[in-house]
């Protein structure tokens, strides 16, 4: 990278380098509460931001680290469980009711430690094996949470897990929750972008492309991979805490196999090449999930078949475009550019 000359004139700031469309999207996201009603704000946009964050952690591992990890949903659920255990919930026998500034860091740290531990186990393997092992550990977590009544309260889990009423705001109301989720999602998005350009991120991408060469250059391949798991786990844990607050409850089903697969579907449908992909995938997923029963009933099918719709959509995307919807869009743009005149850029 150092060999590339800086082509940006010295007078411009970073604000000029961000394309206009990004500003437009940011503005639309900020004024979203004015545009849509509370249901869509909370159920579609709030949910897709939260799911997008969890899928973003998978995107970071898969896109920059080359490790497709299915443990992210379990890490998120771990964060959510810890919030319920150390914070307040309807199960008074287990919840410790610590203050919010204590239980949120504890939850994130425990979830990150869990993710790191799984990562340390998973990086011993490569490619498809990583998927299998993380899938197996994710299901072990699900069964453990379902069987354990001392800590995880077994089958029923925790209910009435609500965010702390900070600054006199009820953060579960649609508008505050939307801004909370938007703030966390934006933070994690920029964190991923920043880390991907940092020396650590570049080394991680080097490890993805050629681990042997990186090892020969003196980089500790295993440590980089495990650190990537830790970073991704923090993002997943924040997403998991938001998910618990949104649903106000957590149960083993939150981290069941279908949920784990859903996160993979979201990340892959959106595209794992760029950090914005998971959010697009999550938006598509939540829209489908929320409105598919209406769509299906208009076609005369039962509303329960939304899984079929999502599965077929996922199948179509992975079958025809390995890099998701973003990849489809990029290919379409390239084709449009190819059709134009190479010298003048005008359409033929």
């Amino acid at each position: 990278m150092a060999l590339v000359e800086r082509t940006v004139p010295s007078g411009t700031t970073w604000i000029d380098r961000v394309p206009g469309i990004w500003w437009a999207i940011a503005l639309i996201l900020l004024i979203m509460p004015v545009i849509v009603n509370d249901f869509i704000l909370f159920q579609v946009f709030g949910w897709s931001l939260v799911l997008g964050m969890i899928a973003l952690s998978l995107m970071f591992l898969a896109g920059y680290g080359g490790m497709v990890s299915l443990i992210q949903m379990s890490v998120a659920a771990m964060g959510g469980y810890m919030v319920a255990i150390f914070g307040t919930s309807g199960v008074a026998a287990i919840s410790m009711e610590l203050p919010w500034w204590l239980y949120i860091p504890i939850a994130i740290i425990i979830a990150a430690a869990f993710g790191t531990l799984v990562g340390a186990l998973a990086v011993r393997t490569e490619g498809i094996y990583t998927i299998m092992i993380t899938l197996a550990i994710a299901s072990a977590f699900f069964y453990f949470a379902r069987q354990n009544y001392g800590i995880f309260n077994g089958y029923s889990g925790f209910n009435l897990v609500v965010p702390p009423p900070l600054f006199g705001v009820d953060w579960r109301q649609p508008v505050p929750f939307y801004y909370l989720a938007l703030g966390c999602a934006a933070l994690s998005y920029f964190a991923v972008v920043y880390v991907s350009r940092s020396p650590f991120g570049l080394a991680l991408q080097g490890v993805r492309d050629n681990p042997r060469r990186m090892a020969a250059l003196g980089f500790n391949v295993t440590a980089h991979r495990i650190a990537a798991y830790t970073f991704a786990s923090v993002i997943a844990a924040v997403g998991g805490i938001l998910l618990v607050w949104q649903n106000a409850q957590i149960s083993p089903g939150t981290a069941g196999i279908p949920a784990v697969i859903d996160i993979l579907v979201i990340a892959v449908v959106g595209g794992v090449r760029r950090p914005v992909g998971p959010f697009i995938g999550a938006l598509i997923y939540t829209v489908l999930r929320t409105f598919s029963s209406d769509i299906l009933t208009t076609f005369g099918l039962s509303g329960e078949r939304f899984k079929l719709l999502i599965g077929l959509g996922f199948l179509a995307v992975v079958f025809f475009s390995p890099d998701g919807v973003l990849g489809l869009w990029e290919r379409w743009r390239n084709r449009k550019n190819r059709d134009s005149d190479p010298l003048t850029g005008e359409p033929k």
Partner: protein
Amino acid sequence: MRDFFRRRPIWSLIIAIAVAIVLWMIFAPWPPGLVDTLGRKRIFLNAVFGGVTLGALYFLVASGFTLIFGLMRNVNLAHGSLYLLGGYIGFEVSEATGSWLFAFPVVFVVVAALGLVLQNQVFRRMEGEELRQTMVTIGLSVVIADIMLWIWGGQSYTILSPDWLSGPTTLPIISSIKSSGEVVYLRYPAVRIAILVAAIAIGIAMWLVLNKSRLGMLIRAGVDDREMLAASGVRIQYVFLAVFAFGAGLAGMAGIVGGTFQSLSPGEDTRFLLASLVVVIVGGMGSIPGAAIGALVIGLSEQIGLVYAPTYSVVFTFLIMAAVLAFRPQGLLGSVR
């Protein structure tokens, strides 16, 4: 085997002692001290036999999975769906015809045909792209699971075993000795014994075909060097099709077996997919004896865990897998390639 003994004398000794202890616990009448610590011998024996039978079922599912993976490097995460589909079709066939045995060839042919379509239309288009195969087969399993839920609903089904296999049979293993000196032998469901025998027979047959026949030679050559085999004039795609169809058909037949001594319901597909994943990870990818050992270990740990530590029995399986991964990442009988 002798090679293993020479290279690892201490491990062979430990394994031999463990096997001897287990055999003694199975065949000998228990002294009172052991009964006090572990409970009645009958309970232990039932757990062991349940574990071995469950292991036989796992072996039927996982051997197809490991064979397909070993030869073609195809990651078929829709394998569990093939299992459940086979079970449902077997249920329909045995209900319609009233014959349990007749369901096996029908299911084998139907599911194997589906396997042919999968290999020819899906996997052949993405040879060598493991991640894409994984994604596509996950998508397929979601779709197939929902279609099955659509057709057969959410209730659970059990396939009735035929009359000549129902009821218990007496095994020549001492369960307990009454105070009057009368020896009580273990009684065990006949259908489970039949399943166990069938699984062992299929396993030995697979091993013989793989190691002693011309087709097996082709398959082993394909595992070792696919390009060279193709270059020497073998139509390797036909070998692939045959192996995939066989593995799929085996999973389908395992569905009938599972539906007979357990039950069929939505969610069983992921359960058996996970079981076969764990079995092949423990046993070693692409190795049939490895799948047998892995299935035995997992089945036994599940059943014995269920008896002696019921709360966390499910977690034991995954602990074993984690331990194997930590100390022997390629699996117990896997080879480093």
